[in-house]
Symmetry: C2
Subunit: 359 residues, 2 copies
């Protein structure tokens, strides 16, 4: 069963919860906006469903509600940022703003972040660049659920990559994807419906192919994009590795099997080599390469050509990355955001705990 809630209602609730754990007014607003952008864009696993998870991290002192987000190393086009254990939802926009400012000065800006936490959906951070006629890139590492090709051990997170590119009359191109065959949120949906996964999504804890949506809970692993070697999983493994290295080895965060888990009850890994989780952001000014009007004219042409491609069936056209999410955002802003029963119950409990009404 699903109930519909207005964006404003969920935004106010989330913001009030962030205020209760001690965030400043500005940080609570930013955190609520970033968190809710996932619900608006249809990535329900990364939105308000995670709100109580963030508060539990705060309870075990793994999140600092008032971080001093600072640049610890920089050049004209780069910075390394210490997130000071802040909410990733707040650290990431601050780091993107640094990248945007550097791009204004020297054409591009590249920021690697340590000592952060889960930052919500990658796409919303990449999209910060769009208003400035800039291309935005965002990626993050995450706790290990993914087995590299040939491995039974889980050594990588779902390590998403997002790239947002401005267009002219057309909506921007926004790609945002986990570097696995399927994101963990997709497994959770199948598990709730008691359905099997397609092949190539997961393996057992011994590395055997599996179709069980419960496999990751049972010690198995998600698989890199491609599924197995024959279908290119070494490419998904390489992509996830690049995200890990850019996010954490450049910055000094934890990497590979040492990335801290999101659930507060899961023990931290031993012998951690860095601080917190890592992100990586990039911003490129369009007019650092060519006039923005020329670029946008050709982006529109690209989008229109791909959208009008001859397709396998008349019922399904080629999808321009970002279009379904933008359509969903517009629809949910008007009609409301659907929440499933367990999430509603969780939010009511959370409201009771912090004395914030959830209607």
């Amino acid at each position: 069963m699903q109930l519909l809630y207005s964006y404003q209602q969920l935004f106010s609730f989330s913001k009030n919860i962030f205020l209760k754990i001690g965030c400043s007014e500005a940080n609570a607003e930013t955190a609520a906006k970033v968190l809710l952008s996932a619900d608006l864009r249809g990535v329900d696993s990364h939105g308000i469903a995670r709100l109580s998870g963030y508060t539990r991290l705060w309870e075990v002192n793994r999140i600092n509600a008032n971080p001093n987000i600072s640049i610890v190393h920089e050049t004209p086009s780069t910075a390394t940022v210490d997130g000071d254990k802040g909410l990733g939802l707040v650290v990431a926009p601050a780091a993107m703003q640094i990248a945007i400012n550097k791009a204004k000065n020297v054409g591009t800006g590249w920021v690697s972040v340590k000592n952060s936490n889960h930052f919500g959906i990658a796409g919303i951070h990449a999209m910060m660049a769009l208003d400035h006629d800039m291309i935005g890139i965002a990626m993050t590492n995450a706790s290990p659920l993914v087995a590299p090709t040939f491995s039974v051990e889980r050594l990588l997170g779902t390590n998403p990559i997002a790239v947002a590119i401005p267009a002219g009359g057309e909506a921007p191109f926004v790609a945002d994807f986990a570097t696995t065959t399927a994101a963990n949120g997709k497994l959770e949906i199948l598990l709730r419906k008691n359905l099997d996964t397609p092949s190539g999504w997961v393996q057992t804890k011994n590395g055997e192919p599996s179709n069980s949506a419960a496999e990751v809970r049972n010690g198995g692993a998600l698989l890199p994009l491609g599924g197995d070697k024959e279908h290119g999983s070494h490419k998904g493994y390489m992509l996830g590795s690049i995200v890990d290295i850019f996010s954490a080895i450049l910055s000094g965060a934890n990497y590979g099997p040492w990335v801290p888990p999101f659930p507060a009850y899961v023990p931290m890994p031993e012998n951690m080599p860095g601080e917190g989780i890592g992100h990586f952001f990039g911003v490129m000014r369009i007019d650092a390469f060519r006039p923005a009007t020329d670029f946008k004219e050709h982006m529109d042409n690209w989008i229109q050509r791909f959208r009008s491609a001859k397709t396998i069936t008349v019922h399904q056209q080629v999808i321009i990355p970002g279009e379904p999410e933008t359509a969903m955002e517009n629809e949910r802003m008007i009609n409301g955001i659907p929440l499933v029963g367990p999430v509603v119950n969780d939010l009511k409990e959370l409201g009771n705990k912090f004395s914030v009404a959830f209607q």
Copy 2:
């Protein structure tokens, strides 16, 4: 049947052919070195087997042997380069050098290139950064052989991405992969052996799943990494699209279905929106983020942890990207480079045409 040829022998032959079409001494050396790096690293489809193809492009006036490679737009961290119809084998190293110089000055360098041609393997260009303690990134678009998810039309090339990352005592991490399930060269090998492809590599000209290695020759298409939507092909499609946009829409090259074909006998697309094919290069100085010694120590730790992962079988350890290619390079430099009969015959004919002996 395969014959072994020494690197030096094939290098001299290639260099002499490039001299015969009018390249300068320096450009002929660079082109031969880049071309042969594919043979050394085991990417036989992109090496000396393509030498006669380059000369045929020169014969139809699609390659300028003496290009004036120039910066047409720039900022401190970016440049747009006009390759002046030069060999991609020569244009790419020139563009990477510009990126390296910019990284020396402001921390990173990002170069988009138009009006170029096929540049060999992406990895060798990315690797130029390694000697400077920098991370190198190289990508290129290519003529359309790939159908986006749901499309029957071929709108993208195999659009590879390469990322080279320095390590300390360990060999560098070098990822270099087409954004399709399998590169076209893999199909050619199966075709030669009269073998079928695995599922998810190709589709027929009507968009039906197929296992025929001849499908692309028959008007069918290669598939984006993932194979089909259920297995994440929209992610491969997004990756290929990002490569296309960074390489060609930022620079003013041709994109999507308009990218010129490599075979000189294939007619050029109509209504081309840009100039030549496009590449994109990035360079990041490690010490623009943290001291290089710290970074390398953690890269070594990352590599050792992944290499020693518990694996599914004892016969196959987790592969560190770049290690098999480095091993093959060392082996072939000593024992020679194997060439199949048809390639040997093609090179003999080429030698006859240009009066360069091929023993």
